[in-house]
Each structure stands twice: as structure tokens, then as C-alpha cells.
Assembly symmetry: C2
Homo-oligomer: 144 residues x 2
């Protein structure tokens, strides 16, 4: 019997050596939109506000999804996996989830020759969403 | 322009400091079944065989999903996220994906009071799948 399971979140969650837990984000239609990372406080804020909040590993700051772009994620419900070290969040996604303007961050499929092919629906552009040219490192522009 | 994107997998994938990339596993109906981790060779084997293969972080060995339990994952297709540091695999899952016997590893929902509640469908038990009593640490029994 794992006693952790009887404790409420965020206490029962298992964070990695960097204090993070991955969160798979899925919309109400079943489309997987992205994977982000939460520390204990980001998880606490997400639960308290219903507004999905990550910890940005690159910028080392809290990242309220949609704070800059307006493309927010409203929490519908949350699940925890068997090992308590991964979260699954169903959300109402406003607009594109991806900073590249696609509905989902998983907008590229792997072809038989193993190259990548864009298959996702592009709803916007980084320029339209953030008002600045696309930055070279996508992690930098994945601000919100 | 990110030149990585023009290279085939596994070359274009970005592995973390432990040499791993997370892989979200989703069935053909849209249900998220689990999240596992692949190193370069596990990804290579998955692409080559069409049989989903992870790297077990706890046992430090390759983990062909279903090798012991028979609950295999046959790859339908694969997607890569915008940062090239996360994979999404659609699979045909034979039987339960979770070593606890549930269809999905995400078999517990978070209630309003933040405690966990089992909502998943239990298809089997660890005893039936592995022929031994449930082990204390789920990571240990998450062999296959």
C-alpha cells in the first residue's frame, strides 16, 4: 500500500530531481496539445486558479499559459498516473496551444523515411500572437 | 530556421541531460494510456520494429512494452512536438496498458478536495498479468 496515494495533491505527487512533474495537456475532444512541466507551486496555482500554470525550464519562471498570447488553458479535470509522477490535464484551450500558431504542439508527423512532415492545422503565427518576429529558439518564445 | 528539423529521427530529437525523451502514448480512440521514456536506441528500436520500446529509468534496461505481460503496443504513427523534445505515439494497445491492470495508467482523477479517486476501468490484476503478488514499488513491477 502506497500511503502517498491517500494524501491530496500536491503532496502525493512525485517530483523529479529538478522538482518537476510533466503534465500532458489534452483538449476536451481528446487531442493532445502539449506537454509542460510543473513544480509544486505551479501545480498548486493550477489547482487553485483553474488556469493552467507551468514552470518554464528555460526561463526559470512561472508561465501562466496564455498570459501573453491570450491562448489560455482552463482546467476541466486532472488525472494522476500509477506512479504519481505524471499528470494528465483536460483543458479548454482558447486558440492555438503552440507558440508556432498550431492548434497542437504535436503538429509534425514522422514519415516512413523518418523525416518530419507538418500535418497540423495552423491557426495563427508567432508574429500575430506575440507581435514580434519568430525567435530562433522556440523555447524562448514559448513564453505563453 | 532550425536545421535539426530537416534531419530524420532519431537524429533530430532532443534528448535531455539523461539522454531521454518523454513519449506520450495514446490509443486510436484518443485515450492517453501512459507516458514512458526513450533513449536514442529505444526510439530507434521502436521505429525499426513498430513495437513500442522504452528505456526503464528504474531498471536501467530496455523495456519492450508487453514483453512479459503480453500487453503490447503496436505503433500506428508518431508525432514530434515544436521543441523536438517530446514524442506522441498513437498505438494499438493490447489489453491493459498499466501494470496495475487498468486500461490507462491515468486511472485516478483528482477530486475537488484534491484527493485521488479511482475512475479507470480495471481489466486485469498484477497477479494475473505477472503471476506474482503486487510489488510494493509500482516502478519495479512496471516491467512490461
Amino acid at each position: 500500500m502506497n500511503l502517498d496515494e491517500t494524501r491530496p495533491l500536491p503532496e502525493c505527487a512525485k517530483f523529479d530531481s529538478n522538482g518537476l512533474i510533466p503534465a500532458v495537456i489534452q483538449d476536451e475532444h481528446g487531442e493532445v496539445l502539449m506537454v509542460g512541466y510543473m513544480n509544486r507551486e505551479a501545480l498548486e496555482r493550477t489547482l487553485a486558479t483553474g488556469r493552467v500554470t507551468f514552470w518554464s525550464r528555460s526561463r526559470k519562471e512561472f508561465w501562466v499559459k496564455g498570459e501573453k498570447s491570450g491562448n489560455t488553458q482552463e482546467l476541466i479535470d486532472m488525472r494522476v498516473d500509477c506512479d504519481l509522477d505524471c499528470l494528465l490535464l483536460r483543458v479548454r484551450q482558447s486558440g492555438p496551444a503552440c507558440h508556432e500558431g498550431y492548434r497542437s504542439c504535436f503538429f509534425r508527423a514522422v514519415d516512413a523515411d523518418r523525416t518530419l512532415r507538418v500535418i497540423g492545422e495552423r491557426w495563427s503565427t508567432p508574429e500575430a500572437m506575440y507581435g514580434s518576429p519568430k525567435r530562433e529558439d522556440p523555447r524562448e518564445s514559448q513564453a505563453s
